[in-house]
Structure formats: C-alpha cells, structure tokens
C-alpha cells in the first residue's frame, strides 16, 4: 500500500475512533436509551484498541521511513476563500504529538478498564463514560492538532469534560462548587487562547502551525512573527496554559478537582489534562524562543508554581490532594524546562510523570494497606524526612510557612479579593439599581423574582 495512503487512513482512524465512541455513547442518551454497562465497556475497549493500534502503526511507519512530520489534511471545515477565512481540519503526527497521543490512548485505556469495575452499578456510570469519551476526543484533537483552531477545539472539550467530572458526585455541593471553580478558570484560559488564536490569524493570515512556527518539523521550527508580536501572543498563550495546567495564580482549582472519582482524578489531574498547558507551551516553543522576556516569564511562572506546590503539598492531610500538589510541582519544573529551551527533556519528563502519577492516584484508595505492607516488610515505621532548611528556620518563619502552605498560598483568597468580589459587588449594585428603575417605570413596589422561594428539601406536595 502507498505510504501516504496508509498515513491518511491510519491518521483518520486515530482521530475518528474517540469521535465514534462519543457518538455511540451520547446519541442513545439523547433519545433516553442509554447503553448497558457491558456495551459501554466493549465500546471503550474497541475504541482505545483501534486508536492505539493505528497511532503505534504510524509511529512504526515513521521510524521505518524516517519521516519526522506527517500532516493529515482533511480540508476546510469552514471556508470563505474570498475573505481568506478558513477553519482548517489538519492533524500532524510528529515527535511531539505521536508520544502524546500514544500516552493518551494508553492511559485512557487503563482508566477505562479500571473504572468499569470502580464505578460498577453507580448511578452515574453512563454519565462518566460520556464525559470520558468527550475528554478522549478533546485530548486526541488537541495533541494531534495541526492548526491552532483544531487545538482550541480539543482544548475546549477537555475543559468541559474536566468540569463535569469534578462535579461527578453531583448530589453533594462541594464537588459541584469545585467543578464550577475549575470551569471559571478554564473559561478565562479559553478566552486568552481564543484571543491569541485570532491575533495569530490576523498576523499570519492562517492558523496553520506550519505557517506560524515555520516549516521545520518540531522542535526545529522558526516562528514567522516579530519579537513584540511574539511577546504579546505568547503572554496570552501562557495565561491559557497557566489556567489549564493550574500554574500560579490559577492553582486553586487543581486540589479541589480531586473531589471527582479517583479514576478521573488520575487521568485528568495526574496525567493528561494537567500537562495540556505544558504541551501547548511545547507546541509554541518557537514563539517562546523569539522573546527572552517571554521565556523568562515562563521560567519564573514554572519556578513559582513548583515552589508553591511543594510547600502546599507538604501539609496536606489527604493523599489525593497531596498527589495533586506533587503533580503541580512536577508541572512547574516541566514548565521551567520548556522556558529554558530543554524541549526533549520536558517531553520525556511529561511522559514519565504522567505514567507514575496515574499509578499513584489509582493506588490512592489502598494507600493505608500499601503502607502497612511496606512497614511490615521494613519491620518498623517509615523514616520521617525533613529538609535542612526547616531545621535552621526560626519558629515564627516556620509558623508563617506552615500557614501559607495550609491556606494554599492564599491564592484563592487573593483572586477572590482582587477579581471575583469586586465584580460580583459591582454587578449586584447594577442589578439593584435596575430593579429600582423598573419599579419606578412600572409603578410597582417589587419585582416578582424577589419573592421566588429557595429550594427546600421536602416533597413538593407537603409544602401546601
């Protein structure tokens, strides 16, 4: 078979596999006929095996043929040629995307198998897998994206599925609040991403990474924009990456995201989703190279995140949150590596870290048992480690560091005080003024919505 044709068929299959899975799981739900657990498991296995096999086959073919850059062009999704506007559906298999997509399929397969037992007979079983399919599609699209628009498409799907899975146990308020918080951060990140994408489109006339980052295959591209343009676009993309990967100051949502089921915590916040910001930075690394200020910002952000997360992680009382901060520490270090231009090291770091963290998070529910096994084998308690700095610090500083770590760097409070509260107060004031003005015009004393009762948790017939 012609190699080009093989690449095309295998490439399309790799992308289409999660899309078909999403359709097969989602459409029956829309017609109120959700599939059975058994069918769902089979569909998941089928989709992952097909996607993984084709991705590996492409890797093997690339290694044999010596290709380092295989674009799969599916044409224009939206096109207005006279206006030079298009939404190009293009996927790229290169040294960055192939390891990422294989990792995605491997970890999704592991989590799919784990969850089929972990959530067996849970009421939200189907809901979990619909969000999971959405996530897998988002990850595959984002990692294989050949244009900034396709990357944005995948990026958004990952964000939505993340928020819904954090709020998976939706009968309780805390998971829902945490899911909402993650969604707010994602939307801010998405807005920054979209603005950057539109700017890039305006500057280069296309959203194709080949045009934006130069013709060379990753990591050897040279961006075709000026230093100042690179700085502004880069800063917007850094905000987007910071939101998605939970870098400072957006780190507050990551530990809260652990309210979701263990399996989704593992795949999202230990392995794949949390690295998507780092992936974006790797993909746009030619832009980072153009501006020393931009690279400096990335390094500083990574360092701050790593230091913050390692401090906060040391005082956490539950294993999932401690692992979330451990993940964040590593992500911070990975971002530093990217800022310093160590692209291959960052890529290897991501792959290794994702695999280890998935294992740790999946073992989290049996942590005490594992500790007992370990201590029995050692014949005593595990030794307590303490860093040398801690021994020489005065008591007041120790107390301050402890408080800082316990309150997670006061980051949530900081964002609340600076942005959320003034925003809400301002719009509530407008709302109250509007109500007064409307009442004045209509001659009423109050509006009906003021009198709408809160939901009380009793059967509605008993209210009357």
């Amino acid at each position: 078979m012609d190699l080009e044709l093989f690449y095309r068929i295998a490439g399309i299959t790799t992308v289409a596999s999660p899309l078909v899975l999403l359709a097969l799981l989602g459409i029956p739900c829309l017609v109120a006929r959700p599939p059975s657990e058994k069918s769902i498991t089979r569909l998941i296995y089928g989709s992952v095996v097909i996607g993984l096999s084709t991705a590996v086959a492409i890797l093997v073919a690339m290694l044999i043929s010596g290709s380092r850059h295989v674009p799969i062009d599916l044409g224009d999704w939206i096109s207005l040629p006279e206006e030079h506007f298009d939404f190009h559906l293009k996927f790229v298999f290169d040294r960055l995307s192939v390891p990422f997509v294989i990792l995605t399929y491997l970890l999704c397969g592991t989590i799919g198998a784990f969850t089929s037992r972990y959530l067996h007979r849970e009421p939200g079983y189907v809901r979990f897998y619909v969000a999971y399919a959405l996530f897998m599609l988002g990850m595959v699209c984002a990692t294989l994206a050949g244009t900034i628009e396709v990357l944005f498409f995948g990026w958004e799907l990952v964000g939505l599925s993340s928020a819904l899975l954090i709020a998976f146990f939706h009968e309780r308020r805390n998971p829902v609040r945490n899911g909402f918080m993650a969604w707010c951060v994602y939307r801010i990140a998405d807005a920054a991403f979209l603005i950057a994408a539109v700017l890039m489109h305006h500057l280069t006339g296309a959203g194709d990474f080949e045009v934006l980052m130069g013709q060379g295959s990753w990591p050897e591209g040279v961006a075709s924009i000026t230093q100042t343009q690179a700085l502004w676009i880069g800063l917007l993309l850094v905000v987007a990456a910071a939101g998605k990967s939970g870098l400072v100051p957006f780190s507050g949502w990551l530990p809260r995201a652990m309210e979701g089921p263990t399996s989704s915590s593992a795949i999202f916040y230990g392995a794949l989703s949390v690295h998507l910001g780092a992936y974006l930075l790797l993909r746009i690394s030619p832009i980072l190279e153009l501006s020393i200020w931009l690279s400096g910002t990335v390094v500083t952000l990574g360092l701050l995140t790593a230091v913050y997360a390692t401090l906060a992680g040391r005082v956490q009382a539950d294993i999932k949150t401690a692992l979330a901060f451990a993940s964040l520490t590593q992500v911070g270090i990975i971002v530093v590596e990217i800022g310093l231009g160590l692209r291959y090291i960052a890529l290897i770091h991501i792959l290794g870290h994702a695999a280890v963290r998935t294992l740790q998070l999946l073992r989290a529910p049996t942590l005490l048992h594992d500790y007992h096994v370990l201590e029995n084998a050692l014949g005593g308690h595990l030794p307590e480690s303490q860093i040398w700095l801690w021994k020489i610090l005065p008591q007041s500083s120790k107390r301050w560091f402890y408080l800082f770590a316990l309150e997670r760097g006061f980051l949530d409070e900081l964002l609340n005080r600076i942005f959320v509260r003034p925003f809400v107060a301002c719009f509530r004031l407008f709302d109250s003024l509007e109500r007064k003005w409307t009442n004045l015009l209509s001659g009423d004393t109050h509006v009906e919505s003021d009198a709408v009762a809160l939901h009380d948790e009793i059967i509605e017939e008993l209210k009357y």
């Binding site: 739900c29 829309l30 017609v31 109120a32 999704w77 939206i78 207005l80 006279e82 206006e83 506007f85 939404f87 009421p123 628009e149 944005f152 498409f153 958004e156 799907l157 939505l160 928020a163 709020a167 939706h170 009968e171 308020r173 829902v176 899911g179 909402f180 969604w183 707010c184 939307r187 801010i188 998405d190 807005a191 979209l194 603005i195 539109v198 305006h202 809400v424 301002c426 719009f427 407008f430 709302d431 509007e434 003005w437 409307t438 015009l441 209509s442 001659g443 009423d444 509006v447 009906e448 919505s449 709408v452 009762a453 809160l454 939901h455 948790e457 009793i458 059967i459 509605e460 017939e461």
Partner: protein, 487 residues
C-alpha cells in the same frame, strides 16, 4: 423578479391568522392547543417550502406565485431572499415548538390565540421589506403582549413606555428619511432617531429594562417568542443598514458590545432563572448586532450565522427552562435544586443548548461566534476582544445555572418529572439541528455569506447617492436576480 412555484409566503403568513380565527371558536383549552399546534405546524411547512423553493431558483430574491400582496401593498411588501428565508423557517419552528412543548397543567395560562396572532405578525414582518410595512407590523407586534400583561393583572407601563418610545422614534426617523432628498446623505437627526429606536427594540443597555420587566410579568413562552426572533436586528438590517453612515453603525456596534458584556455580567449574578435567561438572551442578541453593525463580510456572515444558531439554542434553552418551571414553579438560583435525577434528559438538553448559545465547538453557534470575533477584531482591534470576554462570561453563567438547577442536592418528588413525549420531540428536533449545524457548518456559513454580500451590496447601492450610474448598475444587478451575488 423571479417567482416561487407556489404562494408559499402568503400561505406561511396567513395560516397562523386563520388558525387564530379557528382557535377563537374553540371553547376547550386542549382543543385550542391542538389548533395552535396544527396551524403553527402548517405555517412551518409553508415557511420551509418557501425556503426550499427559493433555493431551487438560485436567485437573490423572489416573490410568491400568484402574488396578491404586491399589487395591493407594493413591490417589497412580501419578498423572500437569502437573508430572510431561513429566518422565516426558524421563527415558524419556534412558534410551533412552544405550544407543542406546553404541558397540560399550563393550558389555561398560555395564550394560544394571541400566540397565533403574534406568529402572523412576526412572519409578516420577516417577509416584508417595505420600510413602512415593517414599522407598522413591529408596532402591532407589541399589542398581544400588552393585552397579555393586562389580562394577567400586571403593570404594562414599563413595556408600553419603551415600546411607545421605540415606535415614535422609528416613525419620526423614517418620516424624516422619506422627506429628505434621496440623492444626498440623510440628516444626522433622522439617523439618530432611527439608531435610538433600534437600540431600544434590541434592548441595548441602558434601554433594556422593558425586557427584564416583560420576562418577570408575561408568560415565559410569550416573552421568549417576542424577543428570540430578534426582530430588532431585522429592522436594523432592513431600515438602518441601507441608509445609515458608518458612524451610526459604529455607535450601534459599540453600544451592542457594551450590552453584550454588561448583560453577560448581569446574567452571572442573577438569583432567579427568568432574569438570568433574559440577560443571557440580551447578551447574545447584542453579539449578533455587533456583527451586523461592523459591516464587513466576515462580521455580517458571523452575525447572520450566530443569529440562526442563537435563535435555535435560545429557543431550546428557554423551552427547557419553561418545562422545568411548569413542574416546580419559578426557580431561584440562590440555592441548589438537584433536579438531575428527576429529569436527566432535560438536564442534558439544558447543557447542550446552553453550550450552543456560547458557541461551544461542535455546536451550531461555534462558526458564528468565531466569525463575529474575526469581524469585530478587524474593525475594532482592541475593543473587539470584548466579544470573547462576553462569550466567556456567558459560558460561566450557563454552567452556574446548570449546577444550581440540576445538582448540589437531591430533589424529592412523589411523581415522575421526566420529559413528556411532546417535549422529547421538541428536544430531539432542536438537538439534531444544534449538533447537525455544528458538525456540518459549511452550508450554513456559505448561505449566510451570500446573504451578507447581498446586504452589503444593497447598502452600497443605497449609499451611492452621488453616483447615479453606479446606483443604477447596482440596482440592475439586484433586479437581475443577483446572478453576480449568488454563484
């Protein structure tokens, strides 16, 4: 001008009027509802027929076969063109789905007869291109709402003041335009009057309070059907766009952009579901107006695409909200309701339509929002970014409402709250359109692009006062059926 094969437009417009007459003869509420469903369904079939027939002609505009209206009321009294063909179908669909999804418990509260009358007026407005015809029909559209508010014993003052002002300004503005010399640029006063009138009808802040008042006091169905078809934006395209200079359009665009962000922020802090929906609608309708008034092919295409997408998704979103209200009463957003277990299908549809409103990838709104952002950034490089901010705030507001209504606790009920089959049909139809339009956006965008080009051509023709030859040439082009416009 070419003719359709059948009098589709006349049939689509007159069917609801006949339906209203038949409904007046019915004493029983259930029978009235069936009559409303049947006649609005027929109107939908005719409107769709007009669209399909028009597509087969491959021209820019067409008249009805056996056109009875044009000889009586003028050449532009009833026309189907690239711009209004899908709008007529979409509006007819909205008027069909609303009575279809009305539960029996609400039969006596929902004004089916007035609804049919409103549909007649709305479809007649959308089929009309004659300025005075549009103005009269838009004035008449307000009457069923005033009647409904009075019937319900609510104050209609705020609504009447705003609509009175809107009609007064529109009449005064257009009267001045008519009186002025057509070969010179129109006076600033006339344009300003028209501009303010359009800003009131579109609900641009701070002239939007009639909309929140209406949603508070009228039935949700009637309010939805009065606002969702975006007749204000239609009037902007038909009345203001052809005569207004760039400065007036920029003012509308900036006012709309401000409203889009302001209303998105307001939606985020609302504590009651109807007010939340009203602000959401306002924000997205304003985004459409932003695209229309930047007057670039991309911006206009984005606005027209978003118009269809937002109409579809807002209808679905509004109907879902109405279905929930029918079951549990007015909904507070101060607290969690936990309705997911009781109505999973409605919850899923609420989320789907909500995401489509903000242009989430894979839904019908995505292409339109992308194009509006492009168009707005092209004209206002920095200010245009606020479109993205408005969309982000709307997205946050929608998920907040979803979480408040469907999660956070468990709603206990002794009877089933699942969607009934008419609601399921409505959900299914809209879901297919929302997802289908999202997965295959190109035909829709291409058709809106043609419409956008035709609108721009018409504007150019109208503004070319000092160059009569160019004016005639452009008119000829349009009269030929726009063969240069539509490939």
């Amino acid at each position: 001008m070419l003719e359709l094969h059948l009098p589709w437009l006349e049939l689509a417009v007159l069917t609801p009027l006949i339906g209203a007459g038949v409904a007046c003869l019915c004493k029983d509420a259930e029978k009235t509802r069936l009559v409303a469903i049947a006649f609005s369904g027929l109107a939908l079939v005719f409107a769709f027929g007009a669209w399909e027939d028009f597509n087969t002609l491959s021209v820019f505009e067409a008249h009805d076969h056996w056109d009875l209206v044009s000889p009586l009321l003028g050449r532009d009294a009833m026309v189907v063109d690239e711009f209004n063909a899908p709008l007529l179908t979409l509006t007819a669909l909205m008027f069909f789905l609303t009575p279809l999804a009305t539960l029996r418990t609400k039969l006596k509260r929902f004004p089916f007869r007035m609804n049919l009358l409103s549909e007649f007026l709305m479809l007649a407005t959308l089929a009309c291109r004659q300025p005075w015809g549009i103005i009269v029909l838009m004035a008449l559209q307000t009457l069923p709402l005033v009647w409904e508010l009075r019937q319900r014993g609510k104050s209609s003052r705020a609504f009447v003041i705003h609509m009175g002002l809107f009609i007064g300004l529109l009449v005064a503005g257009w009267a001045m335009i008519d009186a002025e010399d057509a070969t010179h640029e129109h006076s600033m006063t006339a344009i300003a009057l028209l501009t303010v009138a359009i800003l009131i009808r579109c609900g641009c802040a701070p002239l939007h309070c009639w909309m929140t008042d209406l949603f508070e006091k009228a039935t949700l169905g009637s309010s939805l059907l009065f606002v969702s078809p975006m007749v204000g934006a239609y009037a902007a395209v038909r009345l203001v766009l052809p005569v207004a200079p760039d400065w007036a359009l920029r003012i509308i665009a900036i006012a709309s952009l401000f409203t889009a962000v302001y209303a998105a922020g307001m939606a985020l802090v609302q504590m009651e579901s109807r007010r939340f929906f009203c602000y959401l609608l306002l924000s997205n309708a304003s985004l459409v107006l932003v695209g229309l008034e930047v007057v670039t092919p991309i911006g206009l295409t984005g606005a027209l695409s978003t118009w269809l997408g937002v109409c579809l998704s807002l209808t679905g979103f509004g109907l879902t909200l109405r279905a929930i209200e029918s079951r549990v009463g007015r909904l507070s957003l101060r607290d969690f309701h936990g309705l997911y277990q009781q109505m999973p299908l409605l919850a899923t549809f609420f989320l789907l339509t909500g995401l489509a409103i903000v242009g989430f990838p894979g839904t019908v709104g995505f292409a339109g929002v992308e194009l509006i952002v492009e168009g707005a950034v092209e004209v206002f490089p920095y200010v245009g970014m606020f479109v993205v901010i408005a969309a982000a705030l709307n997205g946050i507001a929608i998920l907040r409402a979803y979480f408040r209504l469907f999660t956070g606790t468990e709603y206990l009920s002794s009877f089933s709250m699942q969607a009934r089959w008419p609601e399921k049909i409505a959900v299914l139809i809209l879901s297919v359109l929302i997802i289908g339009g999202g997965v295959f956006p190109q035909p829709g965008v291409q058709s809106r692009y043609h419409a956008a080009k035709a609108i721009m051509l018409r504007r150019a023709a109208s503004l070319a006062h000092n160059l009569p030859t160019l004016n005639n040439q452009t008119k000829d082009l349009i009269d030929r059926g726009g063969s240069d416009v539509k490939p």
